[in-house]
Symmetry: C4
Subunit: 282 residues, 4 copies
């Protein structure tokens, strides 16, 4: 196996050959190790004792990833297309911070974006299934983006209004509600049912108003769930039912169907169905 | 373009002409700036330093919005209909507080209701789609209003009873449960899973009872979600099946329908399926 | 209108006559006032100032409700059947605590169960619709009782195991996890996403384990929602689709349907459909 | 009834005979008592006073369960198959910790895994229905395992990135965000809407970023719910349509089906509708 563009590309970009698979597995191990190193380095007690070693490791990882990024740029046919793709940008963002940290202290923590590279894992382990499921979810989220936008806008308007109301009600007695931005922050923690408790109402009126906000938030949390459930259902139905009977053009065949439920006509299996159906072994 | 009622109305109320669109975009920028100014003015450190400027800005914004409101009243055909409409009231509420604040200090914070005016943004950017989605959501919420009322009533009854029980159990040992209203406030934060933690049970019996309330709240939170999902589904189904009967123009035919459900007319199969998928441009 | 059993029963138990409706409305006002009085009496500052008055009010309300309860027992045909019914028991529980409080101090707070009597409001205001919706919800909850039981049992088992694990991990360093019951209480607050924060992990291992529990709880909260959505959907579908076409016995007619969607046969309207369909005025 | 393998097996493993049922009920009582004893022993005040008694009880329970485990191994036909089964392992784990605690202090708390043995209760009380429901839920969870994996991976990546961002923003001013692992722990409590409040942002920028994370978490919590609802629906649909084809005994026919989807055989209409309602006994 010579060291030419094609061989390198097969190893780096594909996972069909043993070499390609081994490369990808090692890459993921390195990525996880490097992210782990960045995380550990941020703990003071560890930094004091192992700081020099972790700094060395960071540079080692960065140099390895830089070489890998260079190879990717070199061996791919359309360099610019790769460089602008999602993974191309993530690959670059995964090495830049170390170099920038020479001038700007603290920037090395941005290295954690490397963790996004691990999402490649689904591709590597030939998890076609997982990719399909991921597509289904993102399809549903994409289809619901407009509903979600409308919903988030309404929630933001509510939060601004309720936050200001609470500022008027609690502001003078309670340092937690000392300004409208703080009150809005409180309103968000309440409506999303996170409820840190770092800011809490203390006057009877404030508590009464909070009660109303909480019960509203309770009902409002139902909306995104309903939206996503709806769209997931749609996406699933669309994927499942793309076959029409050639005789009576009935739709709605279940994924495993071989014959039309209305007229009994034989249905031709397509690839897509086989893929989805194998989920439920006969 | 003369300065007559029609031209003004077109610019202010519609967004089809370049002038109308520019007007709307500028309006939204002004609204957001003015809401931001009110919010910043409530922060003490900013108020001390920039208070005079923000006060001037507030008056400037209010005068601009007052002129705009006057123009709207003047140029619209049915003045009273607009004045009573949702946006008419919001427009008025967005300028009144500044004037009232001359007599009643603090009322200027009500200016944040201006943020509701921003919801017009969906109209401005010709986002017909968004308006459709917003209608779908509000349709679903409207359709589920009775179920939600029944649900909220039951939750309120539960909260009063559990709050009183906790008062009896914890009241004497725990200042947080010092009165039934406080205990009810705690019960609401618990059942909605907000859980501030400003009031928490401390006796073993109180903790046991809380455990039961929490697990109940866990199950109960499922109910509004189920209701909204159901109604969203219904609303979506009704909209999706837009095949109209050529005889009686009834809508809402199920996908498999061959005859109109209202008048019994035979329905011609259309590219109804393609219509449903138009959400995702090919 | 003489003072005989029948007239009294009509006034007290039914809401069809003006007198019956007025009686019910006044009853609800009295109930809400009496529950409010009990709640206010528990606030120390109010008790000190108005305690005597509230005590008098409490006895007044109790005497009124006792007379009402006596009348109900007297005028109803089947006394024992009423006395054992849900509302019969609630009516009794709404007066007993005041008498018991003569011997057992503090028992008067149980008077808040009176709030359950207010649920009658749905009957009074002739809100047939609301009763239907309430039935739908309780039907769905009833249908899902077995699934919920299985689910709650599994959650309880998980909570016991995770609580004990956290006791082992955190117990020695963290007074909050000082015993297994306390740790289980913590596990419940975490899994239900209430998260008071009165007990929180402090060791790295404990925080890691908490992270796992939280993400599990995140997924687990989806199960009851899914169950209730499913059963609500079933209950709704069952109510909507109870008519079969007499010609081709097709099912699945939408609520507004007059003709069969498959064969065009005329469908006979039944009462049930008319009731459900009026939800969407034509 | 002699003391031979078959009789013993019937009593221990089955619950059809009165003896078998009594055995199972007693077993569950013993299990609950023993788990309760372990839990109580962890409370310091109880341990001091009743420690010796609880220690004796623990050994007594362990010896009883050891004998039971021995009998199970002895009387079952395929010993090795039982020993490796889920309940076989749980049975062993329910006795081992006591013996190990002779060498390793504290290990006795692992005895709480005994609580899993109680899940047998569904089998004992002949709750076939419950077993069916449990199967439905686990089927749905199993079917959604890939979607959940994809979802959890994405959430983990988000949490790492947001945690690091918050470390950069808040780290220097706020000891709670003192390291990336701590910040990630905070991000998990926030995204899952648990919100302990032991670590909270204090800078304006940190609060702004938190607001974004909370609203994202709000939307993201909708995804697992949608997934589980979808799969529960699928699993239910598959089970509900139990009309089997008389030719090929395929199941899962949709309600409108006239022909078998697998072999094209004509399906005879049965009281399929009545069957679906059997969940609610008439």
């Amino acid at each position: 196996m010579g060291f030419n563009k094609d061989t390198v590309r097969q190893v780096i970009f594909e996972a069909d050959t043993p070499a390609g698979k081994a490369f990808d597995v090692w890459l993921i191990v390195l990525i996880l190790l490097s992210v782990g190193a960045v995380m550990l380095d941020s703990v003071d007690s560890i930094h004091e004792r192992w700081g020099t070693w972790l700094y060395a490791a960071e540079w080692m990882f960065t140099i390895i990833f830089t070489i890998e990024y260079g190879l990717r740029l070199w061996c791919i046919q359309n360099t610019w297309l790769y460089a602008r793709s999602f993974y191309g940008i993530v690959d670059l963002l995964g090495i830049l911070p170390t170099y920038i940290s020479l001038w700007v202290a603290g920037s090395q923590y941005f290295l954690v974006v490397r963790v996004l590279r691990v999402l490649r894992v689904f591709r590597i382990l030939r998890m076609v299934r997982y990719v399909g499921e991921a597509e289904l979810i993102s399809q549903a989220l994409l289809a619901s983006r407009r509903k979600i936008t409308v919903f988030v806008s309404s929630v933001l308007a509510l939060v601004v209004i309720f936050g200001s109301l609470m500022y008027l009600v609690e502001g003078q007695h309670n340092p937690g509600f000392g300004s409208i931005p703080d009150s809005i922050y409180w309103a968000v923690t309440t409506m999303t049912t996170v409820g840190y408790g770092d800011i809490t109402p203390s006057t009877p009126l404030g508590r009464g108003l909070s009660t109303i906000i909480m019960i509203m938030g309770y009902g409002i949390i139902a909306v995104p769930t309903g939206i996503v459930t709806l769209e997931l259902n749609e996406a699933n139905r669309r994927r499942a039912n793309t076959r029409t009977c050639s005789a009576c053009s009935a739709e709605g065949h279940s994924r495993e169907a071989t014959y039309c439920w209305r007229c009994g006509q034989h249905l031709y299996r397509t690839e897509e169905t086989g893929d989805g159906a194998s989920d439920n072994p006969p």
